[in-house]
Symmetry: D2
Amino acid sequence: MKHHNYAKTPPMGWNSWDCYGATVKESEVKGNADYMAKHLKQHGWEYVVVDIQWSEPGAISSAYRPFVPLEMDEYSRLVPAENRFPSAKDGKGFKPLADYVHDLGLKFGIHIMRGIPRQAVHQNTKIKGTEVRASEIAHQNSICPWNTDMYGLDHTKKEAQMYYDSLFELYAEWEVDFIKVDDIADSKLYGAHLEEIKMIRKAIDRCGRPMVLSLSPGPAHLNDAAILEENANMWRMTDDFWDLWELLYGMFDRCYRWSKNVGPGYWPDADMLPLGHIGIRSVDGGASDRYTRFTQDEQITMMTLWTIFRSPLMFGGEMRDNDEFTLSLLTNEEVLKMHREGSDARQVYRYQDRVVWQSNGADQELYVALFNIADVAQTVSVDLDDIGIKSNQIKSLTDLWQKQTMPLVNQEIKSHLRPHACQLLKIELK
Amino acid sequence: MKHHNYAKTPPMGWNSWDCYGATVKESEVKGNADYMAKHLKQHGWEYVVVDIQWSEPGAISSAYRPFVPLEMDEYSRLVPAENRFPSAKDGKGFKPLADYVHDLGLKFGIHIMRGIPRQAVHQNTKIKGTEVRASEIAHQNSICPWNTDMYGLDHTKKEAQMYYDSLFELYAEWEVDFIKVDDIADSKLYGAHLEEIKMIRKAIDRCGRPMVLSLSPGPAHLNDAAILEENANMWRMTDDFWDLWELLYGMFDRCYRWSKNVGPGYWPDADMLPLGHIGIRSVDGGASDRYTRFTQDEQITMMTLWTIFRSPLMFGGEMRDNDEFTLSLLTNEEVLKMHREGSDARQVYRYQDRVVWQSNGADQELYVALFNIADVAQTVSVDLDDIGIKSNQIKSLTDLWQKQTMPLVNQEIKSHLRPHACQLLKIELK
Amino acid sequence: MKHHNYAKTPPMGWNSWDCYGATVKESEVKGNADYMAKHLKQHGWEYVVVDIQWSEPGAISSAYRPFVPLEMDEYSRLVPAENRFPSAKDGKGFKPLADYVHDLGLKFGIHIMRGIPRQAVHQNTKIKGTEVRASEIAHQNSICPWNTDMYGLDHTKKEAQMYYDSLFELYAEWEVDFIKVDDIADSKLYGAHLEEIKMIRKAIDRCGRPMVLSLSPGPAHLNDAAILEENANMWRMTDDFWDLWELLYGMFDRCYRWSKNVGPGYWPDADMLPLGHIGIRSVDGGASDRYTRFTQDEQITMMTLWTIFRSPLMFGGEMRDNDEFTLSLLTNEEVLKMHREGSDARQVYRYQDRVVWQSNGADQELYVALFNIADVAQTVSVDLDDIGIKSNQIKSLTDLWQKQTMPLVNQEIKSHLRPHACQLLKIELK
Amino acid sequence: MKHHNYAKTPPMGWNSWDCYGATVKESEVKGNADYMAKHLKQHGWEYVVVDIQWSEPGAISSAYRPFVPLEMDEYSRLVPAENRFPSAKDGKGFKPLADYVHDLGLKFGIHIMRGIPRQAVHQNTKIKGTEVRASEIAHQNSICPWNTDMYGLDHTKKEAQMYYDSLFELYAEWEVDFIKVDDIADSKLYGAHLEEIKMIRKAIDRCGRPMVLSLSPGPAHLNDAAILEENANMWRMTDDFWDLWELLYGMFDRCYRWSKNVGPGYWPDADMLPLGHIGIRSVDGGASDRYTRFTQDEQITMMTLWTIFRSPLMFGGEMRDNDEFTLSLLTNEEVLKMHREGSDARQVYRYQDRVVWQSNGADQELYVALFNIADVAQTVSVDLDDIGIKSNQIKSLTDLWQKQTMPLVNQEIKSHLRPHACQLLKIELK
């Protein structure tokens, strides 16, 4: 499918949610874009994404204010709140900010909620290119269970499609490269909104600009995998992921079950990396302003799982506050090569809390990750047979995080690991 | 509980829904009230109830128009649409219509939806007696799955209670006697809204006027029976009941399971009687303008089950179009006496599609109903032992619908019954 | 219903489960019967019940041994294991032990599982009074999820009823007074087995001996309340209850929801009292041989809730090891009078973790229980209005557990209570 | 994974269930094997599979007799009933029948139920190579909801694995090539038995003989897809499939959702082909002895969906009674080439009841199937763009069922189709 070409490798970027909740400002976006251009761009990081409620002038944290007025154009389309995004004045929307990001050699993304603003429906405003008004295309009993901004759209009305078309026409004018649609991949009230996913696919296809399509929140259901793959580039395997071990622990099973349905071009998403300085203006994840609560071992475990599985990588912290360790997680070229080029990643086995994954590299190399996800130290090992090689094929063995060569092995690879720790190995073959 | 005194016997009346959907007009209400005063009042019928969306000026049928403006006062309270209820002009609300009904010696009821109008929330209008505005007390993710008028209320806010208090203060001024609250006893999205039920109970208790409280829609759940009984006078055992045999068939099991939780003062409700001329401006129940699709046998079966179980009786048809048979169902004095005075009604047994019910009368009499709910004729019988009497105790045996004395019996009472037919017997004891 | 006469007040007795699991022996039963006759009989305690698996010669604890041979007669009926119940030798069954208990002026009860032994089905043994064999009446896909002894019975076969009839014929010969049927009121696999409940009702009715019918395990569902009430004397509102505060905490909501469906003659059951010396040969409830883990406050709270609600009272500990405090809980004559004679018990209100219950006495008195089920001390109060009396009607006020008279009150009754504590008051009216 | 090599293309064969239920006899198996060797082998058909309950001497139809004795060896392993499989005498098991099939150049398969015979558990017989007895490895509360033969195995016991090992050791001695395991891919009571699937995988890997592993019944769940793929060769997407249009209609959505998880080596299974003479000794599928109730159009639709999707093909009828049309469905060499060599099959679109699928051939050709699954005739079309080609690339267009060349097309392919009919086209590219 054509849209798979828009994300041939798993997207990498920054998203404002983990640090700024619903409140990020233009200067903060630019600051993080500057940082990315300077420190991360050469490693493949490229998307700068403004998360939820950029139309809400009074947003104060990750807790949405209910039923507040949003900034909207005459055609029922939300536009950036000018007090937060000054460059949007005079109806320029996100074009100036996108230009700024593009000038840095990066790409620009925004978040939207499925549907149409409730205020448009209640004021019964116009729908561009149609004779109908907002209330005629809204799905009358379709709300988001956690935010009051929108109503869903009634896919049986052709003008509902035209509204989505008008949205993406606007985003194309703004030169948006990445679109994260929320309240769509799962809903505690209604399940996935598959028909709206299809409408959005169609609207992007019609807008004439390639945009990566990302669907939230999770957990998306494997039973919908075919529809997701045919319509989107990435979708969340999980509800919001935060810096809590139990969430990271649970991701191993999620990644395993989705591992047969991974790209190229479509990427089950383990969600943002809650690393570095997060929670600055957010009250989610059971905490506030902080450095990530993950230990260094856990951070490496997370990065290893995300990269070997080939999840999208969206950094969640205020990057300008990154310390050296955090930056090192994002710039390990060997690890990122595996993330970019690996294929057929699979869980080799899981025995209680010992987990081994494998991925095939593009150049005769193989990657093996040994994880100890128990709360006690233990040895994790894997037979060479189980990863399909013989000892005499091995040319070299390298620990990618420690960046050191390891002695060759005979029958099995093994490692004694601290609790929640892992070892990621590259095996070069003769 | 005090409110049980407001409905010592199961309420009897007329409701506009089955014939006029969401569209009934003042003249139609008055016309039916006149009819009731003339033909039914002497038999105990007393409530005249205006059903849903009396604030909607453009209501056209039982299908609600989504997101339309409703008539509302400055305190976020819905008021009657003046084009439909001319006497409501000059802010008089339903007081003049209530007066009209009261002058006929009858009682007046209205329908409301739980919560606060969405338009009040979006316009952020005032809440009487408080400093807050509508958006501050709405429960932001609580909607009705089938109607777009309202948001639920957040019971953790004391001003939410005050809003309900202000509603019932208004209804007391209007001299309302009966209140049917909808979207509250069950919701496909959220189950029962128990906290809102308690708020409404409190608001009625505070308003100073006795009002019968009826909760819709069904099916209410037996697991909530204690809360329902402590807060309301009647609640629906079923989703909307229409003139379809399968719905009537299913009511036998519903009545059986609820039969241990019946009054006095609280009445599980088998829903309106879809008899006579119905569907005039309604598209529900799979049909439109018609005389009831129930056969005469089925109508008698329904009346017998409703009265022996002691369900509330709310007639749904345009009464002025009643034919003689229909009227006879509503004016059978012996049957209505059983409905009014019976106690400990119970299903004696059910064997496949033979069902027998029994009720104890107030004056040494006993009632037995034999039902054949199969699609073929069959004989239904019951042992005298099973209804707790001996043949020599029987003084007389009367068929209450046929109004004829029956020969005395020995060991058992039995009747050969047409499909869907029943026999209702009064047994006078020596 | 006739069987309601078999338990006009909530049954009181002793059951071997909490102390001896599946392993109780004749001498232990007799020892506890002796204790009851001496210390408790005069207070109304009367049933001595042998719990599960008395046919299993090798039972070692509350953990059932799977697929072991059970002692059985030629008609597929389980009989007592003679090594555990020596008096049962020569085919005498439980008759000698029942005689022993009867001679003490007490009543005798046994536990059974619904259905027919799997071993009978696999050996295809005879069914008394029929031409069929065991495998012909078993319900082929009906098992107990936690015990391997039995298959359910196929209620569409008349010989299945005859098997149950033959069981109760045997139990009547043994002179059993109380029967606890297990795996029937709820099953995680299949819900309640309503048809088997009806078969057992019929079998008891036919056996000619009154036997109290108790159904396990719970939680039974309120949606089945009518069927339970019409067929049994008591049924469990909960899964196994043990000496854990969270289980006691949860019982308040269970009792509230069931409070409209309480006797006389049928008694929702809060389960055994895990007091005194329990777990002697049991590994259930997360502990082993011990004195109850409930604090004294919690024990009084439990006894108060059970007695005011009118749950059956079945003591679970080895009574011969009772200390003085434990015995005092079982012999408080005023409290037991409330349990025996109270009516219309109801939760007056619950506000977070303050709970007040009320019951009406038979002689112009009223009972009020104030519960603090929070983890911190707090004051619990109730308005006299809310319990339907005025201060000038009060003649006296007595704390039934402290056995002391309290000063009279004006507008409200209140008590400062330790965490998990309660106060039970008798109010005598003028 | 190694086992994927055992079924590089979707398995094709015959299974006794649809025609003989649980009762097939050796002579019938041989007769169908003979037929296959003569008429179908050259088209790729190779497996001859004996379905359920070949150990049951008295099996009479597809309705299992409950709790009957099965033929079993001393190690708790079921063996063929000799009255039905005479060549199995003297402990030879299925070896002679397998030899017969192998001599025809075909492969031999059997059906088993997960677990261990209940009779082994109740007789507590030996487990080969271990010290334990049957009752020690059975999972005590794990039954099949529709058959009484077996208990599940407790995967936490190493001897449970050893029992499965001993089973496959025996089947390897018999030279079994294909094993269908039932009651394992889904169970209304317990979901999928994933741990038993893994034990069986391990047992096959250890037995030293490649055997195709097929899991039943369905519907398997996509959420388990990774586990299924890593352990089996095929698994059912559906409960039993019979000759009823609604089941065939529903298969379109099932195939669509599973289409991203199709081989090579692992094959979601649309179930047997209920074609030709079926129901001979079966009472399933709502009918008995008959020729398939599918119309010819429906049969072609089924074959087209199964082959383009690449489902396994297991013929269910008594092949010796095949008519010419039926045989033609199984021997269309062009269609079978698509089934064998196609890749990346996908639903191009579905619009209401118009469905289009596409598959890529191995030699520059493309396959397109147009389905009309409505109950009325209609035109189904597809844009060349949507299947990724341009009109000038097309060399030829052939209707594979009609075996005729079609005129070339410009922008779209379209076909007017009878209800339930389809057209399958091969597009050769320049």
